[in-house]
Symmetry: C2
Subunit: 278 residues, 2 copies
């Protein structure tokens, strides 16, 4: 099943994608759908209601607009670690984003005004969406806790990210992080391994890799995080970005207003985001 | 005014402290009170309702149980930077906690089971609570956005904190972070400067400092964070801990089940938390 959160009349509604239509569900967003019960390709735990709308006309919100947690993972692709001259991590490198960083899959990416930063960079990522509460999980329980996957562009303001040792400041600028377009359930897409990931800027391919390059895969990440805390339905885990970021290029490349970024993961879909200032 | 969130009948209610009583308010928690409008020593924007209960009998929840954001600041005391052989930071070092880390001001601190970690450490901190939305703030606007202050014990699982470059993993263990006992409004306590902060473990003083030692004060932190994103009512900013943590002692000292930690900030009050395993 493919689930989306769509903006209608100043609010949001969850929906399931059926062909070129969205069938609206009786829930305000995908998190609420997941909290109601398991979602598979055959069933969802909330009722349908409110009719349908054309997928092409839909104004999509972040697939989970208000997750309890957004956990990001750094340097988790073998090729990205290589390009940044970093050793492969011995443990997952976690940092956070706040809800206000998120934006929709076709919304503008809000860049800082130039006086604040001109060092915005792209980072296509496969993102896990949690489907049920999980704590102290082994591999089987971790896999069962994954509702499915979506795409997240972990746009990073590099000078703020590297201003101190801690990445958070550069990772949570408001409206900088597209997530979507849809949650694709695990029974359709599998465990997140073996998926092509790509990012283009103004039509030029910048990142092209495969989730087989992940150092720590989705199941390992869920199990490890569940040692620290309970994961909850709707929680997002951005699994890290492959090689090809602007910071690691010579000369370095940055996003600027007017550029269009496309980020895609095989089997999920593509986000298209124009960059705007401020 | 002193505001608390109290547990009653499996739910929570906001209250204001009046002498040795809590006057219940028509709101489920302090965040909801702040969202309703400004709070000063003379007024609060929600109605009273539900009677009173004795402060001594109250089961206090985290003063804001579900903030939109918890932002922590590292190495922000001159004396703590010195004891960890760190230079004074040129910019605030931000990292996050998730809501599930929080626990009440008299609740147990949940330590990891020994197989996960035995390196739990104390960190008394002055915490800012945001009262109104603020973005791109100068100093005056930042000050006006501060509802008041509370106490936060940023209990840190040091081996997980230092497992990678990013602190998050060791800072967000479930039920590890007491916050409270009350929010004291800024019109009563001022701008957060000049307050004594202390931490004792089993009656032995471990930390004793003053917020005058802060490198970046509350107003600077709010202004800087508002460059990154909108701050919202109920957001918590833990301003950092002074010297005296267990990690920096020789030999190092760690919290263990059965120990009792008391953390206090002048003008706000004291939290008392026994440590338990798992």
């Amino acid at each position: 099943m493919r689930l989306v959160t769509v903006r209608i009349d100043g609010a949001t509604r969850a929906g399931r994608v059926s062909g070129d239509e969205i069938v609206l569900l009786d829930a305000p967003d995908v998190r609420t759908v997941l909290e109601a019960g398991p979602v598979t390709s055959g069933s969802v735990a909330v009722a349908e209601g409110g009719g349908t709308l054309a997928l092409d006309d839909a104004d999509l919100a972040p697939v989970v607009p208000g997750p309890d947690k957004i956990v990001c993972v750094g340097l988790n692709y073998r090729d990205h670690a290589a390009e940044t001259n970093s050793p492969l991590p011995a443990a997952p490198i976690y940092f956070a984003k706040y809800r206000r960083a998120l934006t929709g899959p076709y919304d503008p990416i809000r860049l800082p005004v130039p006086e604040v930063s001109t060092n915005a960079d792209w980072e296509v990522e496969l993102a896990v969406v949690i489907g049920r509460q999980v704590r102290h999980a082994g591999a089987d329980e971790a896999l069962a806790a994954i509702a499915g996957f979506t795409v997240l562009n972990d746009v990073s303001i590099r000078d703020w990210q590297t201003r101190t040792t801690q990445f958070l400041a550069g990772k949570t600028f408001e409206g900088s992080t597209p997530v979507g377009p849809a949650l694709v359930t695990a029974d359709e897409i599998g465990d997140g391994r073996g998926l092509r990931v790509s990012c283009t800027v103004d039509g030029v391919t910048k990142q092209s890799s495969n989730t087989d390059q992940l150092v720590f895969g989705p199941v390992e990440l869920v199990a490890d995080l569940s040692t620290i805390m309970t994961l909850d339905p709707g929680d997002i885990i951005a699994t890290g970005t492959p090689g090809g970021v602007g910071m690691a290029r010579d000369p370095q490349q940055w996003l600027a207003p007017g550029m269009v970024v496309r980020t895609a993961v095989e089997g999920i879909g593509e986000m298209v985001n124009p960059c705007v200032a401020g």
